[in-house]
């Protein structure tokens, strides 16, 4: 115990810290709620994220500017049919002849290490492959080899590093 070992600590602080170290009530269903959330399919999670209520603070000047911008958009943008603007099937391949598993992690599957496994290719020995429907736009992703090695796609452009400094690749899917 740091508190017991350090004679320099004032009695007030020592007593206070001991009080704060008392256990707190933990929500009894915390683990169940966490596991329910992590098992939720990526699409359902994305839908929940979209409809999640948010509070947006806008100053009066900001509100005026936003109204002007929306007005300009309504004026400039003509609704037009966009045939074929839906998801495209994108093939990802990675050469790892000694790996026992390769999975694809990216924004599109919420970086879930278990959501998108690659399968060994029948045509090319040592190559792993998977096909994923991706909407037009920019996607950041990486491969996870043997569940622990985070590897950017050598066949794709390098993207910005992630929240923890890990290297990612970036792929832009064009709309047709």
């Amino acid at each position: 115990m740091i508190l017991d070992d350090d004679p320099e600590i004032d009695a007030v602080i020592r007593t206070m810290a001991a009080e704060l170290q008392r256990p707190v009530r933990v929500r009894p269903d915390l683990a169940a709620r966490v596991m329910a959330e992590v098992r939720r399919p990526p699409l359902e999670r994305a839908a929940r994220w979209v409809i999640r209520p948010r509070t947006i603070t806008v100053s009066p000047l900001g509100a005026l500017a936003a109204a002007a911008a929306i007005g300009a958009l309504v004026f400039l943008v003509r609704p037009a049919p966009a045939p074929g603007a839906g998801p495209s099937a994108i093939a990802f391949t990675y050469y790892a002849p000694t790996a026992s598993s390769v999975t694809l992690v990216g924004e599109f599957n919420d970086w879930d290490p278990n959501a998108t496994p690659l399968r060994p290719s029948d045509a090319r020995v040592g190559t792993w492959t998977v096909e994923v429907p991706l909407a037009p736009g920019r996607h950041e992703y990486a491969f996870l080899v043997d569940g622990s090695r985070w590897i950017p796609d050598p066949a794709a452009a390098q993207g910005p590093r992630g929240e923890f400094g890990e290297p990612n690749s970036v792929l832009t899917v064009a709309g047709s």
């Binding site: 115990m1 740091i2 508190l3 600590i9 004032d10 009695a11 007030v12 602080i13 007593t15 206070m16 810290a17 009080e19 704060l20 170290q21 008392r22 256990p23 707190v24 009530r25 933990v26 929500r27 915390l30 683990a31 709620r33 966490v34 596991m35 959330e37 992590v38 098992r39 509070t55 603070t57 598993s101 992690v105 919420d110 970086w111 879930d112 290490p113 278990n114 996870l144 569940g147 622990s148 985070w150 992630g162 929240e163 923890f164 890990e166």
Partner: protein, 215 residues
């Protein structure tokens, strides 16, 4: 020859006499084989290899400490519960980015500290905007741990600290992490952290001295 007193007591307790041939004594019961503890690193590896259920053990193993930090940091049970749940879920989704799975707890603390910072900012903004809309007559549910005046004074004093000092103080003296660990979690330098803890202690002593003397 008379056996020494303690051995004589043992022989008597075992129902033997001093003349018993030691070789006639029953063989000692072998100790059960020791089972190596399942470490955080093992559980992380199991989750990453597809055994999602192993994450439940990581949650159950660390939920108490994380809940305590979040409650002390945010001062609101509901906010703390939400922050801890978010941290565990984000931890799961980023698990492959945990560079040292044996130090999963410190890595998760890093996520929780960030969640608490975000929630504290949002709560502050809400308080500034909506303070007048809360009915003053709304009954306050007493916090189950705020049973004593001393305890209430502690909560009040903690809330008076700047958030970076409160964060450093809680991680150091309540969660008992090393300065090196706290530096990895918060991103602050060792010297900055020591200064924050020192200032926090000075301020807390000032705020709590009277309440401490009159306990």
């Amino acid at each position: 020859m008379t056996p020494p007193p303690r051995i004589a007591e043992w022989i008597a307790a075992a129902g033997l006499d001093a003349a018993t041939d030691p070789s006639a004594l029953p063989a000692p019961t072998p100790l059960p084989p020791t089972v190596p503890p399942v470490t955080d690193g093992t559980l992380v590896a199991q989750v990453l290899s597809g055994t999602t259920e192993a994450y439940t053990q990581l949650v159950e193993r660390h939920q108490r400490q994380l809940s305590r930090y979040a409650l002390r940091m945010l001062g609101n049970a509901q906010e703390a519960e939400d922050a801890v749940q978010e941290a565990f879920v984000r931890g799961y989704r980023s698990l492959a980015k945990c560079e040292d799975p044996e130090r999963y707890r410190a890595w998760l603390f890093q996520i929780l500290v960030n969640r608490c910072r975000t929630r504290a900012k949002a709560a502050k903004a809400r308080a500034q905007r909506f303070v007048a809309t809360e009915p003053e007559t709304e009954p306050r549910v007493p916090h189950p741990e705020a049973a004593s005046a001393w305890r209430e004074e502690i909560d009040r004093a903690l809330a008076e600290l700047p958030s970076d000092q409160r964060e450093a103080f809680l991680l150091k003296y309540v969660e008992e992490l090393s300065y090196e660990e706290i530096s990895g979690i918060t991103g602050a330098s060792l010297s900055a952290l020591k200064m924050r803890v020192k200032r926090a202690c000075e301020r807390l002593k000032d705020l709590l001295k009277d309440a401490y003397d009159s306990r």
